[in-house]
């Protein structure tokens, strides 16, 4: 995996590079602002980028815009966006054109190296990684639609993990159940939420996120 990092805090930038290199991943460039990041993407043609949301000059959402621009220049580039705090609007902007090869995570998840690496690999392999915090916000949002209440607690857990971008096997592993049980839960969830069932993870994440975001007003 060839990785470019864009992070303006030097300590964190070097820490990330150190961590990834220790895992035998190929960090080809580390950059501190959106312009040099885009340059590095042009030069090195990485397959994955790790981008901080807040970067100079205004420290607002430069990272999101840089990520969108990098994907426009190099379609198929996997991007994992790191953020100091969860902002629904950032996730929505980022996922506006589909959720494949995209991730949006809180910075501190990096410290849980195993989970961070699996999210990174998932994104690089064409999947999605959404921070549990984002999903939790979506789930607790008050909505006119009350179909979520029809879900059993276990089904809610499965829904949350699906929204994070996990595949069936990973969900089964997290919840200590069999693949078959997960499969059954997912079928129930799709039925109760009136969603068209699908086995392809990327479409599934998009459908679930869209459902959660729209408050169930538009059927996915």
């Amino acid at each position: 995996m060839r990785i470019v990092i864009a992070e303006d805090d030097p300590l964190l930038r070097e820490g990330l590079a150190l961590l990834l290199r220790a895992e035998a991943l190929d960090v080809v460039a580390t950059t501190a602002d959106p312009d040099s990041f885009l340059q590095a993407v042009d030069i090195h043609r990485p397959d994955t980028a790790i981008v901080d949301v807040r970067m100079p000059p205004t420290h607002t959402d430069e990272g999101i815009r840089a990520a969108v621009e990098a994907r426009r220049r190099q379609p198929g580039l996997a991007v994992l966006v790191l953020s100091a705090y969860v902002e629904q609007a950032f996730a929505t902007d980022l996922l506006a054109h589909g959720s494949a090869r995209l991730g949006y995570m809180l910075k501190e998840r990096v410290g849980r190296v195993q989970e961070f690496l699996s999210a990174l690999h998932r994104v690089a392999d064409g999947g999605t990684a959404i921070d549990p915090e984002v999903v939790a916000q979506l789930l607790t949002r008050t909505r006119p639609d009350n179909r979520l209440e029809r879900l059993s607690p276990r089904e809610r857990d499965v829904l949350a993990l699906m929204a994070e971008g996990l595949g069936n096997a990973a969900i089964a592993e997290r919840l200590f159940v069999t693949d078959g049980a997960v499969h059954k839960h997912i079928r129930n969830i799709f039925a109760k939420l009136d969603l068209a069932p699908t086995d392809r993870t990327d479409r599934r994440v998009a459908a679930v996120l869209h459902y959660l975001e729209s408050g169930g007003q538009h059927k996915a």
């Binding site: 805090d9 300590l11 150190l18 220790a22 100091a84 910075k107 990096v110 410290g111 190296v113």
Partner: protein, 423 residues
């Protein structure tokens, strides 16, 4: 806008110091002459108003009286401007409305009519007296030099009407009277302008309704400034927490995570990573301390404003002397504002002035906290939006305080801030 009084916090007044007294007399004389001028104009205007009012009986006055009132308004505004130069500001009144009745209905017009009566009589008399006192003094003091000159006709000065002047001795007696005139001048002239201005200040001040509107506008502006300053401050703190402290702690967790992974296969690398993690944690703590201090310095709360300012002076790269004489304490917000005014001002001094020395004076007088920050630098400091000085003004005005900056090119720069103590 609050009135900026550059004389605030002056040295204590010594009324009998000859220089101070002399200067006060000259100032008073200048104002008396100005007042005398407007009083003469007031007399002419009064005559005009009376004549046109009388002419109303035959009808033509109805056409002339509005013009007379407009002249009166112009004169009153001139007097307001003159009085504003030597004391609290008097707001100019709006032009006289069309129509005689509308004009006469205005309370301002009625007050101006009273004023013109007072000023044309009392004000004129006082001005005449005030101006003649020093003239008498000069005439009598110099009398021994010219007493032998042939008198121009029979009329002569006050001295000659009392004494028959036949020899030099008598002339010197008259010069002695001149000394009396001088003393009288020094006694009367400094206070006379206040007496002369008294009716003007009372009658030409905006009515209670206008005053309140002005005050409301001022409060609205300062409140907006307070809210802005508050929002900017919150933004600054948020930035420091997010991009500073939080990033440090994230870095700590990243390094700890990496160290845990490395501990099994390469303890040496793990050790190095733990070291980095500890360094990052310490840096986070240091930044957090700095942030807390910038929100509200603990020393300000635990000790006193003087101690907090002494701490600031010690941290300032330009040698700085703190002269704080503060019995008791002010409201916390006022002390915090005073602290930040001094902090910001000293930052400016260190950054831009090129000064070799700075002085901070803090006094509490008349329930106001008065701060004077001066330096011997190159001067020419100006207030631009977004600059430290604009920040000081906003913070000050948010507390209903006043802000005055004098910084001629070449220096020295003096910043005067006065805050209500709020207790």
């Amino acid at each position: 806008m609050p009135v900026n009084d550059p004389h605030e916090g002056d040295e204590p007044v010594r009324p009998w110091d000859p220089i101070v007294r002399g200067r006060a007399t000259l100032d008073g004389l200048e104002q008396l002459v100005g007042g005398f001028g407007t009083a003469v104009l007031a007399l002419l205007t009064l005559c005009g108003v009376i004549i046109s009012a009388l002419a109303c009986v035959v009808g033509i006055g109805l056409l002339v009286l509005p013009t007379a009132l407009r002249v009166l308004r112009a004169l009153a505004n001139r007097e307001r401007a003159r009085l504003s130069r030597s004391g609290p500001e008097l707001i100019a009144a709006d032009p006289v409305p069309d129509g005689l009745l509308a004009a006469l209905k205005q309370p301002v017009t009625r007050r101006e009519l009273c004023w013109v009566l007072c000023h044309a009589s009392f004000g004129l008399a006082l001005g005449l007296t005030g101006v003649s006192l020093p003239l008498n003094a000069v005439r009598d003091l110099t009398y021994p030099l010219w007493w032998q000159l042939p008198p121009p006709g029979d009329t002569a000065g006050a001295g000659m009407s009392l004494l028959a002047v036949n020899e030099l001795f008598d002339a010197f007696l008259i010069a002695l009277m001149g000394v009396g005139w001088v003393v009288l001048t020094l006694l009367v002239v400094p206070v006379a302008p206040r007496l002369q201005a008294w009716h003007g200040r009372r009658l030409l001040a905006a009515g209670p309704e206008a005053d309140l509107a002005l005050r409301v506008a001022q409060l609205t502006a300062t409140r907006a400034a307070a809210v802005d300053a508050h929002a900017a401050e919150l933004r600054r703190i948020e930035r420091l927490l997010h991009d500073g402290t939080q990033n440090r702690i994230v870095a700590v967790t990243v390094m700890l995570g990496a160290a845990r992974r490395a501990v099994a296969h390469d303890p040496a690398i793990a050790e190095a990573m733990l070291e980095d993690a500890q360094g990052a944690a310490e840096k986070a703590l240091a930044e957090l301390r700095g942030l807390v201090r910038s929100i509200l310095p603990p020393v300000l709360e635990d000790r006193s404003l003087s101690d907090a300012l002494t701490g600031l002076a010690a941290a300032c790269p330009v040698p700085c002397e703190i002269d704080a004489d503060l019995p008791g304490r002010c409201a916390v917000s006022v002390e915090a504002t005073a602290y930040f005014v001094v902090a910001e001002a000293l930052t400016n001094v260190a950054r831009h002035s090129g000064a070799g020395r700075a002085t901070v004076t803090v006094r509490r007088r008349d329930e106001r906290l008065r701060l004077t920050i001066s330096d011997n630098g190159r001067g020419g400091a100006r207030e631009r939006s977004g600059s430290g000085l604009a920040g000081i003004r906003h913070r000050t005005e948010a507390h209903d305080g006043t802000f005055a900056l004098t910084s001629p090119p070449g220096g020295p720069t003096t910043l005067n801030v006065s805050l209500p103590c709020g207790l």
